[in-house]
């Protein structure tokens, strides 16, 4: 279970997050939607400490992350980062390592797995995302969709309890977007817990268990996709959906 309670974040005077609370149950696929600047990515990045926050708490299983900096927070983050993976909009693969090495890097050096074990796991995961045949090339020679699939395999190699997806298809063209969405759909079907920030509406609709509309730093509406897309309860959701439909 991941639980965010009353998360507040400010950039100087401006409040980016105004006391956001949400809960992601085990095995749940949670999608954050909303207009740009609504705080989706910022909220996602507070969970693994890429962004700080000013008040509130984040609970990942039995670990509690506080806003106050210090050794307590560092200790909690170290655990959370091993339990919660992240996939970035810009993939952020390590360009100086091969595809296979990208996937084995953290298991070997963070989890201290024996290299042969890590390599076997990595090959299985690359197979799963359809990238095994590219295992020995450098990321620079891959397309965006291929890089993103490797990035997903790299995250899976840490056996995370949850994966944070930060606009995973926003930097991709429609064809490669489909490749990545298909991999993510398979993951969802396999019961992988995920928190996804995305603009891909139809994808959100098919995979999400819970959808949260984030607007101006607060959650405007939460609910299963049927409710959000077919029977929105708030004006904010309605106007967001109509704008998204035009776009």
């Amino acid at each position: 279970m991941i639980e965010l309670t009353g998360i507040v974040k400010r950039y100087q005077e401006h409040e980016v997050l105004r006391g956001v609370s949400l809960r992601v149950a085990d095995g749940e696929v949670c999608v954050l939607l909303g207009p740009s600047g609504g705080g989706k990515s910022t909220l996602l990045r507070t969970i693994n400490g890429l962004e700080t926050f000013d008040s509130g708490t984040i609970r990942v299983g039995d670990v509690v992350l506080q806003a106050t900096p210090g050794p307590e927070r560092d200790k909690a983050l170290a655990i959370i980062r091993q339990r919660v993976g992240m996939v970035f909009q810009q993939f952020n693969l390590f360009p100086h390592r091969t595809v296979l090495q990208n996937v084995t890097e953290a298991p070997i050096h963070v989890l201290k797995q024996p290299p042969d074990v890590a390599v076997a796991t990595a090959r299985r995961l690359l197979e799963r995302v359809g990238m095994l045949e590219k295992q020995n090339v450098r990321p620079g020679s891959l397309s965006g969709g291929q890089q993103q699939r490797v990035a997903i395999a790299r995250t899976l190699a840490m056996s995370p309890e949850a994966i944070l997806f930060d606009e995973p298809t926003s930097a991709l063209d429609p064809r490669t977007t489909a490749e990545v969405i298909s991999v993510m759909t398979d993951l969802a079907a396999a019961g992988q817990r995920m928190i996804i920030v995305t603009h891909a509406m139809s994808f959100a609709r098919t995979v999400a268990h819970q959808v949260h509309i984030l607007h101006a730093g607060t959650i405007a509406e939460s609910g299963p996709p049927q409710q959000i897309f077919e029977d929105p309860q708030t004006d904010i959701t309605r106007s967001f959906l109509s704008e998204a439909a035009i776009a």
Partner: protein
Amino acid sequence: MNDASWRSRPSFHGAFALIVAARVLFACVLPEAACADQALDAIRQRGTLIWGADQEGGGPFVYPRPDDPSQLTGFEVELAELIASHLGVKAQFAQGQWDKLPDVMDRGDIDIVLNGYEWTPNRAQRYGLSIPYYIYELQLLGRVGDESLISWDDLLKPIDGRRRKVSVLGGTAAQDYIEQLGEGKIDLALFEGATDAMEATELGLSGVDANMQDLPVWTFYSHGFPRLRPIGGPVGRGYYVALTRQADTDLLKAVNEAILKALQDGSLRRILARYRMWNETQMMRGIETNASGGFVGSSISGAEVNNQPADGPTSRFEQSSGWQVIWQRGGLLIDAAGMTVLLSVTAMPLAVLIGLMIALSRLYGPGWLRIPAACYVELVRGTPLVLQLYLIYFLLPKLLDTMFPGAGLTINAFTAAVMGLAINYSAYEAEIYRGGIQSIPKGQMEAAISLGMSKSLALRRVIVPQATRLVLPPMTNDFIALFKDTAVCSVITVVELSKMYYIQARSAGAIVELGLLTGLLYLAMSYPLSIVTNRLEKNLSQERRS
């Protein structure tokens, strides 16, 4: 020979002001080493008298032997042996940059300085100065066939409305003499080497009409400059003296005894005559006695006064040129190039290591470390290498001695040179790495951290390896620059390729031949690195394209 024949280049003057300031400061803070009346015992115990001089000054003082350039000759070499044998020990030569010899002596690396140092009131306050072993005079030289300049009077007369121009060694008695005489009516051209000044005069370079030269230098080199001739008689007398540390009064007395004895028994006369330096002026001291103790008077033959001694041939400048000089002296240059390589390959890895630590401290270190790291870069980058070498070699041992008295901590010249180069270049490396690391996209660190890596693991496995590839080309450039900067280490007595070139070229008069060889050696060392740089740059740009 006059002072500052090897004076540092004008660009170093700022550094020198700082050095002087630092020395004054240290002189106030640190008590003088209390070693009075122990120097002589130490020398006798050691069995050697270590005397310092600069071979680059050339003949007739201390210079490589024409027939075997790996050996030294010169009247001061023989004088040092004479003094050493008087003390009952062997003479041991130590090379040092001429104007730094007193500092090397203060450091305790040499016992005496014997290298054409003049007696001056300022020196007499700071060092122990022996009785003179030579009375030098100055000689004006003009061009053969230049009928417009045949007397001292002509020097003051402008020609075609232009003032006369005299070449001198910068900062010397010759310069002072011409300045006082000319009172602004004579122009000066300052040179760093005695033979350079003569050559410029012979060729009339930059309008030079005449050269004011130390007489012994002119006597030694005269036949190498057939188009120069003396104008008028010798002028402006002064004394060449040996230097000791001020506290070493026992040593100073012993040196005086040795010189006095050599004057009395004629052995100093014989040495000087071998280098065509004995003359009427020396005779006027009148203290040489014969076997029965009587004054020799004018019984010394006229031939000897005219520098044709009865007991053998005289030594003088022997010009060598062409393949022969390369064959004869090339080996010494190649050996010296070995020192250049050794300095570079030892200093560069250290510079890289220190630079990387500084860069990481500045970028990722805790707050209390960032400011000192930034200060380090600014301080080291903002001060000249020559000053850093000077501080490490001359002042650090003093500081160590104050902090740990009696521990005998010292730093040899090679270590000091490597330290100086490593520290100097580490600041530049640090900036290169900082730039390289900053150019790695932020997402790389975020990806590494979100995979559970600690900051230091992420730096080691992800950031630094990528940055290294970016900074390799500028690093190789710096390595090439370091190769050439090793030349500065001659200020702290390290003889590397450049210094060896100056020593050999000036004593052989083969500036062009040995210059070409030296250039080739530098090229042979740096060109492979250039190839590596080019290849790295090419690989990198390919990697970026893919």
